[in-house]
Symmetry: C2
Subunit: 275 residues, 2 copies
């Protein structure tokens, strides 16, 4: 096992820009750390692809990042976390690998009083049932209703996060889901794109429901893991460095990613990388 040091970077990968909502939480939680974010934009989306293919893509992304001396690897993509976490952990044995499903399930179980939880995500995430399992592992009596909501991804990428189209799509997915699970008190945004549509989703479900995503709890899990291993960046360090890598179309990544990360990204700040 290679020596891992506090100054090594935290690697974060996603199929594209969605994971930047997780990176945003990580930057807030751990401002002294160095981060390297990889968006696999040449092969996005993962959400409609088969588990076999997503595993292959996730392993390639993980290996590319591991070549850059990491101290921790975050799979900031629900689909890849749902279907490829075990395989990535088996391949990447020298540093901790953290997905977003377990932290998302943790957030849901902490939020729910009734034990009735709804989850929305991509086709791949929902079909695999990873959220449903992770919630029931923590809370065996939980009732979990789940639905794929793939159009939210396209709406978020196209900056149609509010307005009549976003509202109509939110009702299209959420009305039948909640009608079938009326005691639901917590809705999990099980895709890193979905926090971009949080307001439209909140308006569609009304005030009685707590909405949770895994970004903040994932950032907390990363802090915990690094602290336990004794490899947190020392307190009082200046802000860490951030490297952004994309497998295709750095300009599009910069343009759409800036909205997700809520900070300016210049196209020349995004390094092209081939997997």
């Amino acid at each position: 096992m290679a020596a891992v040091a506090p100054e090594h970077a935290i690697g974060v990968f996603d199929s594209g820009v969605g994971g930047l909502t997780v990176l945003k939480a990580l930057l807030r939680e751990l401002p002294g750390e160095n981060f390297i974010y990889l968006g696999d934009t040449a092969r996005l989306p993962y959400g409609t692809k088969s588990p076999t293919t997503v595993v292959r893509y996730a392993l390639a992304a993980a290996e590319a990042l591991m070549a850059l001396r990491l101290k921790c690897l975050v799979i900031a993509c629900n689909t890849a976390s749902a279907v490829a976490l075990a395989q990535v952990r088996a391949r990447v044995v020298s540093v901790p690998v953290i997905g977003v499903i377990e932290p998302g399930a943790e957030a849901a179980c902490a939020s729910s009083s009734s034990g009735h939880i709804a989850v929305i995500g991509t086709e791949g995430t929902i079909r695999g049932g990873a959220y449903q399992e992770a919630i029931r592992r923590r809370r065996p009596q939980a009732q979990v209703a789940a639905a794929a909501a793939p159009l939210f991804v396209a709406l978020a990428e196209e900056d149609l996060c509010e307005g009549p189209i976003a509202a109509a799509v939110a009702h299209h997915y959420l009305d039948p889901l909640l009608a079938g699970a009326p005691r639901t008190d917590t809705l999990v945004l099980g895709c890193t794109h979905f926090p971009m549509l949080r307001r439209a989703i909140e308006q569609a479900v009304g005030p009685g429901l707590a909405i949770v995503d895994s970004a903040q709890t994932t950032a907390g899990a990363v802090r915990c893991t690094l602290a336990q291993a004794g490899i947190l960046a020392p307190a009082g360090m200046p802000h860490g460095r951030l490297r952004l890598l994309a497998t295709d179309a750095p300009q599009r990544f910069a343009q759409i990613g800036a909205r997700f990360l809520e900070r300016r990204i210049a196209a020349e700040d995004v390094e092209a990388i081939d997997l």
Copy 2:
């Protein structure tokens, strides 16, 4: 150059299921031919990716199909036709290669009286300007307005082709496009997914506009090309064979593809192929 015979198949490729709208027109136009359709579902969509990446994917798909003894190769994807036709033709020299942009431009120029034509397509197709050029090459005085309409792809794949969401999205794209080009009399559906939304698009633009897509004219171009080369399947032949190949998720391909092709596709009829 390998010998090409009438019984060889016509190869058709697309990033996924969209090209099945072109295959449907080809099956109607040339029922005696054998067809092999390849959907590159492991790497779809092409429409948001860079020209370099689309060229790489298109060459891989073309080479995989060429290994199966073709007499003609059809690029049934507007994005790949727009950015990779020349490169595929340079690589595949033994048989004719036909894209969908030129036939679509042909259909538009034949339809338009005013010479004011609007085109909608994916980001990659519109950004590259291939339709705009192909139309102006035929009709130098033509005024071409163009807009990317990427959400239509997601709507078509999710079978949300009619109803309030499709209507709202159609108005979202088409109202500003046509407000800026009021003399438009012809709208080109420059993406093979868009014919699935034809009714919603027609309702959004009203009765004064002709809507054309490249499926039928592409099928006509293929017939012409094969006839000139003397390699049409002999008249009076029984129906040809159809092979369907997909690089990922054959079941999803079968399920969504059946709507695009308007015929039943069983998951076991779709062969998985690795590129």
